[in-house]
Each structure stands twice: as C-alpha cells, then as structure tokens.
Subunit: 812 residues, 2 copies
Amino acid sequence: MESMMIYMPIAMAVLGLIYMAIKRSWVLKQDAGDGKMKEISDYIYEGALAFLSAEYRLLAIFVVIVSVLLTIVSFVVPTTHWLIVIAFIFGAIFSAYAGNVGMKIATKTNVRTTQAARTSLPNALKISFGGGTVMGLGVAGLAVLGLTAFFIVFYKFVFMPDGWTNTGDMTIVLETLAGFSLGAESIALFARVGGGIYTKAADVGADLVGKVEAGIPEDDPRNPATIADNVGDNVGDVAGMGADLFGSYVATVLAAMVLGNYVIKDMGGSIADAFGGIGPILLPMAIAGAGIIISIIGTMLVKINSNDAKEAQVMGALNKGNWTSIILVALACFGLCTWMLPETMNMEFFGEGLQEISAMRVFYATLVGLVVGAVISSVTEYYTGLGKAPILKIVQQSSTGAGTNIIAGLATGMISTFPSVLLFAGAIWASYAFAGFYGVALAASAMMATTAMQLAIDAFGPISDNAGGIAEMSEQEPIVRERTDILDSVGNTTAATGKGFAIASAALTSLALFAAYVTFTGIDGINIFKAPVLAMLFVGGMVPVVFSALAMNAVGKAAMEMVQEVRRQFKAIPGIMEGTGKPEYDKCVAISTQASLKQMMLPGLLTIGFPLVIAFVPLLFGMDNLAIAEMLGGYMAGVTVSGVLWAIFQNNAGGAWDNAKKSFEAGVEINGEMTYKGSDAHKAAVTGDTVGDPFKDTSGPSMNILIKLTCLIGLVIAPILGGHTEDGIALTEVQEIEVIANTTSDKEVEKKIEVNMNAGDDGQAKATVITTVTKDGQTTKEEKVYEGTTEEVKAAVESVEKNVTIKVKKGK
Amino acid sequence: MESMMIYMPIAMAVLGLIYMAIKRSWVLKQDAGDGKMKEISDYIYEGALAFLSAEYRLLAIFVVIVSVLLTIVSFVVPTTHWLIVIAFIFGAIFSAYAGNVGMKIATKTNVRTTQAARTSLPNALKISFGGGTVMGLGVAGLAVLGLTAFFIVFYKFVFMPDGWTNTGDMTIVLETLAGFSLGAESIALFARVGGGIYTKAADVGADLVGKVEAGIPEDDPRNPATIADNVGDNVGDVAGMGADLFGSYVATVLAAMVLGNYVIKDMGGSIADAFGGIGPILLPMAIAGAGIIISIIGTMLVKINSNDAKEAQVMGALNKGNWTSIILVALACFGLCTWMLPETMNMEFFGEGLQEISAMRVFYATLVGLVVGAVISSVTEYYTGLGKAPILKIVQQSSTGAGTNIIAGLATGMISTFPSVLLFAGAIWASYAFAGFYGVALAASAMMATTAMQLAIDAFGPISDNAGGIAEMSEQEPIVRERTDILDSVGNTTAATGKGFAIASAALTSLALFAAYVTFTGIDGINIFKAPVLAMLFVGGMVPVVFSALAMNAVGKAAMEMVQEVRRQFKAIPGIMEGTGKPEYDKCVAISTQASLKQMMLPGLLTIGFPLVIAFVPLLFGMDNLAIAEMLGGYMAGVTVSGVLWAIFQNNAGGAWDNAKKSFEAGVEINGEMTYKGSDAHKAAVTGDTVGDPFKDTSGPSMNILIKLTCLIGLVIAPILGGHTEDGIALTEVQEIEVIANTTSDKEVEKKIEVNMNAGDDGQAKATVITTVTKDGQTTKEEKVYEGTTEEVKAAVESVEKNVTIKVKKGK
C-alpha cells in the first residue's frame, strides 16, 4: 500500500474530476428558462467565450516566447533540463483549461439559477452552488492531476527510473517541475490582472454612460455595455480567482516538495521509509489529494430546506460545509503526517544548526496553516462586513462629504493590515518553530487543501450576481429578484472573505517559494546588511506600489474606450433608448477585451522584467553568482512584504467602501437621522465605491499574482545563479560524495568529526573539516579548509583526518 | 592646526549662531505695521506660544519618563554609561529651543513681510527669507553645537582624557552620544506628528464651519478658528520641519561617526594621523561645520532687485543660493576628505572581506549624497508642480467627478515611488560601492550639510503664506496681496521640494543608523532567511501603514472638536458674524493644541513601543541576544523600506491634489473648454485636496520621524543586545587584547596568520586563528577555534601558533 502512495493524489484528482463531470451534466440538465432569459444568458456566455479566445491568442504568443527562452536556458545551463519547457506549456494549458471549464459552467449556471429562483430558494442555492462546485473541483482536480502526473513521469521515468538516487537528482526533478507552476502562474497573470481590468472597465464604462449620462438603471438591456459588465463578473471573479488559486495550489505543493527534499538532504541524503524513501516529498501531494475528496464531502453539506430562509441560513449552510472540510483536513493531516513521515527528522535551522523534529511537529505546522485560513477570513469579514464598526464609521464620515468618506475608507484598509500582518508574522514564526521552512510550506499546503471548497463558495457569488442581473433584464417577478438578492448578498460576503483567503494563500505560497529559492541557489541566507541586497529590498518594496498604480490607470483608460463606444451606439442606433433598436453588445465586449489585454502589458512586463533584469544585467557585468542570488532574494522579499501589505490595504479598503455604499440601500442612521439612497451622504459613499472598485477588483487581487510570479521566476532562475559556488568552482554538475566520518569517544576524550565537501565536474573541490574535541569538560573546536583538485582534497582530508573516508562518484 | 580640528565644527556652529542673532535682530527691527495687522500677528504669535508651552509640558513628562528608563538601563547594562541620560535631556532641550527660536521668528516675520510688501517685492522677499535664514541657522547651529560639544566632553574629558585608547572606548563615547540624538528625535515626534495633526485639524475645522457652513472666505477674522489655522502653518511647516531636520542632521553625523570608528577598527584598532588618530570620526562633524558657513554664503545670494519680478525670478534667486551651497559643499568635501582621511583605508565589506578604500572614494560617496538631495527635489517637483503632466492629468480626471480625481491622485503618488526608490536604491548601492557603509553615512552627511539653507528656503514658505493671510485679514490693498501671493506660490513649490529633501534625509539617515546598529550589536548581518527575522520584516513593513491611518484618523477627531467649538462660538457670541462681536481665538487654539497632543499619543506609542516589545519580550523568555538583535534589525529594515515608500506616496499624492485644485484658480483647459473655480470639476478637485491635506501635512511627513526614531531606538538598545557574544561569553567589559601575529614568507612557502580573540571580564575568552599557507601556488586555509579561560586560550594559541604573541590588559 505504502509504495502505491505516489499514485494516491492522482487517483483522488481523477475522482474529483469525475465527480465534477457528473455535477456539471446535472447543472446543464436544469431548465435554462424562456426566450428573453436565455437570450441574455447566451450573450453573456458568448461574451465570456470571446474574452477567453482573445486571451488564448495572446497567451499562445506569450507561451511561445517564454518556451523559446526556457529552451535556450535549458541548453545553456546544464542543471536546467529541457523538459521544463514541456512542463511550462502543460502548466499553462491546464490552468487555461480549468479557467475555461469554470467560465463556461458559471455562465451556464447563472440563467438556471434565475429559473430555479422562480420556483424556490433552496433550488436556486443548489444550482448556483452546484455551478461553484464544478468550478472548484475543476481547478483543484486539474492542478493536482497535472502536478502529480508530471512528478511521476519525471521521477519514475526520466530522472530516477531505478528508484531513489540522491537529493541532487531530486532537485533536478523538482526544478523541472517548477516549469508547470510557472506556466500556471503565467495564466493567472492574464486571467487575474487582465480580467481585473476587464471587469472594472466594463463596470465603470457601463455606469458612467448608462446610469450617469442616460439615466437608465444598472443591468438595463438598453445599455450596450451591460453584457460586457456581466461578462466582467465572470472574467474577474470566476476565471481570475480560479487561475489565482490554481497557481497558489500548484506552487505551494511544489515548494513543500522542494523543502521535503531538503529535509532528506539534512538527514544524510537518503531515508529508509515505506514510501520509496520520499515520504517527506510525497506528503504535500497526499494532503492535496485528500483535500479534493474532503472538499467534495464539504460541498455536499451545503444546502437549505426552507423556502423562507434568509441570508443567515444560506451563510450557515456555506459555513457548515467550509468548517467540516477544514476539520477533516486537520484529521487527514494528522493521519498523513504520522504515517508518511519518519518519526523524527533532522532539519537545518539557519544559525542554529541541525535540530531533531518529530512528525507531530510537522502536523502542528499544518494546523497553523488551517488556523490562518480561518482567521484571515474573519479579519476580512470584520473590516468589510455590513453592520460592522469600521463600515458604520465610514457611513458616518460620508455625512461630511466625499473627502472624509475617502479618508475613512483608506484608513480602514490601512488599519486592517495590523491584525492581518500580525497573523501572518505569527504563522511564519510558529510554523517555522515547529518544523522549519518545511513547516511553513506544509502550513500553506494544508490551508490550500480546501481550495476546491473555497472556490465553490467563491464562484457561487458572481453566479448569483449574474442570476440577479438576468432576472432584472428579463423583467421577472419581484420574488425572483428577492431570492437571487439573498444569494447575491451572501455572495458579496464570501467574495470578501475569499479575497482574504487568496491573499493568505499568496503570502504563504510566496514564503514557501522564497524558502525553496534559497535552497535551490545554495546561498547561506539573504543578508540585508549588504548594501546591494538592501537596495533590492527597497526596489522590491516599490514594485507592488507602482504595479497597483498602473493597474488602476489601466482601468481608467479601458473604461474611457468603453464610454466612447457606448456614446457612439446611443447616437448611431435608432430607437435604442425606446427599446426598439438593438444595442451591439458584442462590440462592447470586444472593446473591453482588447483594452484590458492591452493595458495589462505594462504591469505584466514590470512583473516579469524586474527579476530578469536584476538577475541577468549584473551577470553580464561578471558579478558573482551568489551575490546576485542574494540580491534577487532581497528583491523577492521586498515584493512579498510590500505586496502583501498593499493587497490587504486595497482589498479591504475597497470592500469597506463597497459595503458602506450598500448600507444606504436599507437605510442607515447618521447623527440620529435615518439616511437613504439619494442623500448627499449616499452620493459621497458612491464616490468612495468608485475609488474602491479598482482597489478591490483590479489592483488589490493582482498583488497575489505579482508576489507569487516574482518568487516563481526567482525559483526558475535559481539553478542558473546557484550553479557556481562561493569560490568560483563551477559546480555545474554536482558529483556525489560519500563521506564516512567516524567519531571516537572514550571516557575522558570525545572527538567528533564533521566533513563537508563540494566537488564540481571541473575537477575542483573544497572540503571543510570540523573537529570538536572535548577533554576534561573543555572543548576545542578546529576547522580546516582544503581546496584544490578533487583528488588532492580527498587525499589531504583522508591523510590528515584518520577517521574519514571519502568516495567521490561521477555525477549524472 | 590639525590637532585643533576637533574644535572647528563647534566654532563654525557658534559663528552660525552669531550670524543668526544679528539677522534676527535686523528682522525684528523692521516695521511691524499698524494696529489691525499687529493685532492679528500678535494673536498668531501668542497662539504659537500657547502650543509650544503645552507641548513643552507634555514633553517634560515624556523626558522624565524616558530619563528614568535610561538611568535604569545604564545601571543594569555595563556598556551603557549614565551620561547618556544627560545627553538625552540636552538633545531634547536643544531641539526644543531651536524650534522655539524658529517659531518665534516666523510668527514675528510674517507681519513684517506684509508691511514690507506694501512698499516693494524685493523688500518683502528680503524679510521673509531673512526670517527663514534665522530659522535655518538656529536649527543647524544648535544641532552642530550640541553634538560636537558633547562629543568633546565625552571624548576629551570623560572616556579618553589621555588621548586615543581603542575603538571599544570610542564605541562607548558614541553610544553615550546617541542619547543626544534620541532626545532630538523625540522632540521631532512631538513637533512633527503633533504639529502635523494640529495644522490639519485647525485647517479642516476652520474650513468646514467657516467656508462650508457659514459661507465666509478663508482667513476671515470672523472665523474663531482662523488664528488657529495660521498658527498651524507655523507649528506644522516651521517647527515640525525644523525638528525633523534637526533630528536628521544630528543622527546622520552621529551614524557617520560610529562608522568612522568602525573604519579605524578595521584598520587594526588605531591609525596615526594628525587629527589625534580620529580623522574618520571627525570628518562628518567637519563637513557639518563647513556646511553652516556655506549655508550663510548661500542665503546671502538670495535676493531680487526688480519690483516687477514674478515667481520665476523669486524661484531663480532661491535656486541660485541653493545650487551655490551645494557646489561649495562638494568642494569642501573634496578638501576635507583628502585632508582628514588616511590616503587609503581598510574597510570590511560583508561577504567580501577587507578592501582598500582611498580617501577619494569617500569623496565620491559624498557626491552621491549631494546628487540625491538635488535630484529628489526635481522628482518631487515633477510629480507635484503646477503645469506638469501628472497635475494636468489629475485636472482632466476631475471632470468626471471626485472618484476619478481621487484615483488619479492616488496613482500619481504611487507611481512617484518609482524614480524616487530607484534613486535611493542607486544611492545606497553607489555610496556603498565607493566606501562601504561609511560611504553611505557620509553621503547622508554631505546632503545634510546644506540643512540651514534648505530650512531657510522651506521656512520662507509658511512665513509668506501667513503674510498673505494677514494682508487679507487686515484688508490691505490688492497689490500687497499680489506680492505676498507671488512669494506664497514660490513657497508652495519649495514646500513640496523641501518635503522631498526631508524624506531623502530621513531615508539616508535611517540607513546610516541601521548600519551603525549592526556594528554596535556585533551581529554578522541580518539574514531574512531566518523565519523570525522575516516575520519581523513583515511586522516592520506594517507599522508605517497603521501609523499613517492613526495619524489621519487623529486629524479627523481633532478637527471635529474644533468644528464643535466654532459652531458654539457662532451661536454664543452675539454680533460675531457682523464683525461687532469678537471671536475667542484662544479657545480654538487651546482645543487644537490639546486635541493634537492627545491624538499623537497612540501613534507615538506605536513607534516607541514596538521596538521595545521586540527587544525585551523575547529577552524575558531567555531568547539568545544576537537572535533578538537580528530580529530587531529585520523590524528596522521593514519600517524603513515601507516608511520611505509611504512617505513618498502620501507626500506626492497630497502635493499633486493640492496643485490640481490650485490649477483651477487661474483656469484650466478640460476637453477644450476653460474651466474655473466653482465648476463641478473644481469641486471634485477640492475633494481630492481634502484627502491630500492629511496625506501631505500629517501622515506623510510623520513617516520621516517614524523611521528615524525606530532606528535610533534600535541603536540605543543595541549595546544591551550586543553585550553578549554568540557563545554566551559575557563580554560585558571588553578587555584590551594586543595580538602580534607574524607572517613568514620564503620563496616557495608563504604563511599568513590572522588571530581574532575576544575576552570578557568574566575570564572567558574565545580565539579564532586562521592560517593560510600558499605552497607551489596551492593554498590551504586552516581555521582553529580555542575556547576557555582567557589564560588558557592565550597559552594555547601561543603554544600552537609559534608566531603569535598575545597580551591581555585589564579593560576599563
């Protein structure tokens, strides 16, 4: 059984995908309503497909360019294998396909939800959440399937066909696998950033001309941009979020595998366990696999029975499913950690040396991750939830005008970084204290195990939002809109908490990648007391700020193009305002699509370009590889710290403004007076929401991609930078060295010998011998360094240190 | 001559203060105008004094508390001398006195400027800039006087009465001197943060009730808050900026001295030069001293002749003075570096070992600082200047409402971090490459040398602003207001560029302090790959964001108290609107004063509390001192990187909104149409300015204090954390060790021996002996570590290493 564990995650992924297919055909079999509804739904579906196909064309070009670059790299750098290109392409395809499945089901489910809402609320929830489940399982299933399949191929068939050899070979397996993750995250850049620009450009464009200039309500079918607006909900919130979490999921598991390999290295380069000696590497995949089945169980629990249910009952049903999956994941982690890991492991703690870590401590680290996932949602909910103190304060401040509303919203977003960052800092500390960086990566893996469930909850929001829009546009009875509004209202809350989850996942993923980066490059750490490293920390800190500004400006530019198109149609199409002329929805969709993809170029270039410049420009000037690796590490840390802060700030400020505005719909008490929509205070709140829209839907969520992609690019570059040791010996192909160092001890004198030797395939080697002698309670440490040809060093060490034998085998 | 150089800076400071006194009495002798003008001016003067005395009472309590804490620390920690308490108190007094001088002269100069404007513009400039000069020289003179006087006392009379002993004793001199810097920066906290809250609370409060509710113009004497508003200009822009730069000036020079001592340490612990062996330590003080005289020359060049001059001529006169001083400082740096430094020095570069650095390279580093000071002003000017592209864009975006205006302003502030951070990062890199962290600190010192000139230019702005206000309130002829408006307009530009200079100075100062911190604690560096350090980097990054939010909220709260008081007076005082009843200005001043000082408590506590918690809570739990020192270093780096970003973002966004609003006064073209004050676009721009006000005058400038004070607190804590070595040997009082290590060499074999020995007064010692043997071109390195009692280690090293002799003298 144990030896078959390597196939467990792939089996779970396939199971998840089968369940998804069944659920999908069930949703599609539901009644899609009558003429008008179906017509609108079809427009949205076609608009979504139009965006996807435009995105795919651009993506194809991008994938080809990156593939060519990776191919060149893989031929120039001996530690980079050309299979990374294949992995990269498949990572991109899998993520794109997952987004495609999600978008299609979301745009098919919306109208079916509207139709179901005509009969009952429980049915409407069942269908909308069913659509979300398809989306969630599609993403999670494809992510696990792709990653584990490539791992098995690389491990079992390419690099170690005869079973475990050494950690060096496994490093190459995982470096190659990083291509898959890079491919997935590249799609996320397009889907999340491009999608974020799309959704807000369409929204702002539709509102500016429709609501403000023409005075027609939101979601009015006379507005040519209204379909683009609805497509935007799917593009941004469904496909964008899906690609984001797909990327996080893959990257987290990959980073945990890299660090698992490092655990094996710290334990002497091989361990004897029932899992083919790779238990610590398999564990994160196993947790991911278990998470898929657990998510299926969780989604089954989401249902309500009463047709009179309100928001609280719907929220309760979602919470029940969510909490059940979190608890089940905790149980699974306990079982898997104790079963798959050696009882105790050695892990290297920087500055503290090797420590013995028990499997239980790794389990504790996974608990830290689950706690972070749950708590960050509550924190986000507190700062952005209707009726909570921060929102009430923004509402109060709206009475003195837009200026004070804006200040209050900004301040709320900024203050919300306090508990969030303390939570992350505490999580880093605790999971590291439990089990080193392997613990940090496993904390992230455990949190991400419920990805399918989180995405189901998340995707259900925009589906319900769309369902409401279709109800409005097709002029359904009020009860239908009331029911979809209940779902939509819950969906707004889950959208905010989902964003919290996405930030937490991006933050932990980046940390895990950061740790993996350091182990890949072989640097001792990242010392910010070196001025170039500190300078790069500054530059890294700046990038998220500039990226956010570019994303916000992009929304403005794309929205302006939309405004002009809508104005043109209002003038050019006769009878459009009377409802007799038909707006050209497709032209608006095309404009949003083109503009958003064009506008994401610059921020995308910033994301990809900076790490490449930092790595390769100094390389051209002949700077030391490890010094560059440290600088790039400083840059990555700067991007991560600043990016996480700006993500929290922007998401929560945006969410808070949004709900402050929504508060006026039901009426709020300001200075003892009930105030409603249309009041001056409400107008001020609308201004806040205008600012908040790009914050929470474009620049804020983009930060996740920025920080993960930065760390992933670093990881892919790592082997290039790490190919040389400190002393300029080219360790381009590491040779395997076996060192047998005996330690003698009698009653009075104890002698410990520790040998570290590095040998490159250029025949040069360096060995460090540390001899610790304890005599009469007095300890003397002696460290000797030998440098020269491999043979010379080997001979020198063996002749001087009598208890040492060194065998040097030729590496791969 | 050379041996007297230690007295040079103090002599220059005294010269500067004498010139200041002459200039001051000249300004005060000028005509202070007639009844109404004088009355208003007196109100402002008294209001300013009321704020100062309230601030001093609070300060006194603060100084007593910190003094008690420092006294306890100095008795518990042997490496901290009790004289640090005296230095701290004097640092606070000197800075407070400098602020006092500046505030008094500024509030006396304003009315004299108005009076002079009645006759001619050149005269008005002469007087207003004269007031600024008094302010600038007061701050710079007192800063240099205080710092150098304490250095001479500590060095010559307390710790090394018989001349140079060793770098350990000099470290204690400089650690004690850090108290002076801490005192100065504490005042800056009150003046800059409290003052920033004051100025905006009064401004917003006066506008909300006066302009919005009562419909009376700005600066109308019927508004009870109008005097508080004018006091606020002085409190925030004059006293706040003065205390900020006073703190930067002292801290920069101190940090450069600490790193100068480190250079001597790297050169073997003593150097033979004509400056008593402390040339590298004296150099930053000498540059500061020269800077005072140079600034006097610079201020003399600021004058115009034509009464018909416009903004460009006035700006030209200021630029002439400024550029002359910058060029003269460059020349002075060349002279002083080549004269006072050894021709070549050894400096330790982390990770690269000792390098030979010439005096010329130190000079190049100072040039880097001067370039940064000049370029950052241009960058700030570009992003916030009237008529520049970013402002025109915000103006355009105002036409679609407040929402788009806000987004455009935020985006401008965010994008402005790009060139600014690249500039800082380049400066860190370049000055470090030239001369290590000593180079970074000297770059900062050179930039700060023109402080007096910068402050003169900066203080001239609010003086002219006030002069205009007095002209308005005392109903002068339009020509008077026109002339003061020209000065005010130039003052707005210099205020923005001055803020850029202040940020740059805070950033470089913090870096220098950061470097000094590492050398004080004796850690190897700050490795962010250690999870606790990384966690603290996150926490540090969060603090400026939360601090900014607290400061913004504080403005809101304080402004509300003001609003209520003004409303009360409008109701309670009969005839106030008709001009027959007299408003109670003093009550408004009192409310601003109390509210601002109360509201600065929380952000102040955050600033001081966090580093103390990070240092002492883990200490209580028995965590390793050096690990804590590294964590605290990570925190400091996080605060600095994030603080600099948020300072640039907030200052430039605020400045941009301000000038976008001002653009409407002269009229702007939007979509081909001229648009003026009162238009919808203008109203949107006013909303932007409301948000920008606390950004640019409260939270933005507060960042400078936050980052410097954080690093200073770290520096003062450093000896407590650094008092123990890695292996737990208490080096509470370092003994002096003389090591004579001979290196032998014949034709074929070369042998180098390097010995590092640490011995504590508890009798324990540790020595590291590195022997490098080169034979036939083949190098073998051998490192041996000996631990035990000092005598044992000494004997062991001498017996094993035949070429080494060790003498251990009893330390102080």
